[in-house]
Symmetry: C2
Subunit: 207 residues, 2 copies
DNA sequence: GTCTATAATGAGATAGAC
DNA sequence: GTCTATCTCATTATAGAC
């Protein structure tokens, strides 16, 4: 196992970018700013990543890996809310990847985002169909289809909504609670459980 | 009544920009491109609008005026679906104003967008509360609150969703039908009516 | 691997002639 | 009002020394 980089500069660049991009989006962050944040020169930055789009691509790789990990940690027995919380925490860390502007900068990533979206929607759909068969969800397949898509839309865009429509300049981690509540509200009317609070209870935000 | 401009160039610029911006967003459209589309020189474009942000601001004025017009054409007796359709048609014509990037270019417009959002959400909320009092809607005030926000989010972002998550490169006017159906699905479970199709029926998309 | 210095882009903005 | 030509500026990209 060879040590390929002594300094770990590459990793530091990526982590700095993840944070900066989450704050303002890749298009709004200049390479000069990135270099400054990492504490290296622009020339050195260019040595590690020839183009800004390459940084975004590398971050997207990490995003996909993180998704695979969360997905592997959940099955049909995992409580719905535990799942939801895990996904929301993940999304939070990579929220910059949910903005359309990213995919104008790096069009090649768009099919991969679509794949992620397709696979996870399928996962949720299967989960809901299963609940339906258990009699815990009162919804037709058509209802479920619309529901999954609406949940996906709200989950993808609630941060932008808070920023532009509620005037919250800096959406913070605490707002996750708000976002989760919006998602829960989508499912609530279909839940048969007379104790819906049961399936959707104590959300803890780790890390 | 003085004739202030013979040629109507200003109006042509605005209309060309509305269309171009709807396709790709103001940040992606260069001034050179605008001038070309209108069939004038960049210098002349600059004579009419010194900065691109001024074009966006002028378009926002027109947007506000259009909203006021639609709002004035609806009251508590207007069928819900007629209202929804009118709003969707309006949104479609000004859809570029629903992207966050616009408000990075022209931050001054953001409070005005918030006002629009606040006022119209209040309108919808009042409408739903009224339905509830009539016994036609089975939802608590808290439900209504969540519902209105979710509807607003879906209405604001469904186009971007279709583009980036469904891979539909060119979202067309026909997709309005799809968007409307998603919104209806949000309200459906709360409607008491045994004929919910009634309140939400024939949607015609006028030009 | 890292730096300094410089080139190459591309966009918006502007001056001045017609 | 409209054009052509030019300027400024921010940003990305690159070369070459250490």
């Amino acid at each position: 196992m060879r040590v390929e980089e002594k300094s770990g500069t590459r990793a530091r660049i990526l982590e700095a970018c993840r944070i900066l991009f989450n704050e303002r989006g890749p298009a709004e962050v200049t390479t000069a700013e990135i270099a400054l944040a990492v504490g290296i020169s622009e020339g050195n930055l260019h040595y590690h990543f020839r183009r800004k789009a390459q940084i975004v691509a590398a971050l997207f790789d990490a995003f996909e890996a993180a998704i695979a990990e969360v997905a592997s940690g959940s099955d049909a027995n995992t409580p719905l809310d535990h799942d939801l919380t895990a996904w929301f925490n993940l999304m939070w860390e990579w929220r910059f990847l949910y903005a359309a502007s990213v995919y104008r900068l790096s069009p090649g990533l768009q099919p991969r985002l679509k794949t992620i979206s397709d696979e996870n929607q399928a996962r949720i759909r299967a989960r809901l169909e299963s609940l339906r068969r258990q009699g815990r969800l009162d919804a037709s397949s058509a209802d479920i289809e619309r529901l999954v898509v609406n949940a996906w839309i709200v989950a993808s865009y609630w941060i932008d909504y808070l920023r532009t429509r509620q005037g919250i300049a800096h959406v913070e981690r605490e707002h996750l609670r708000w976002g989760l509540a919006q998602i829960r509200a989508l499912f609530a009317p279909y839940l048969v459980d007379n104790a819906p609070a049961r399936s959707f209870e104590p959300a803890t935000f780790g890390c």
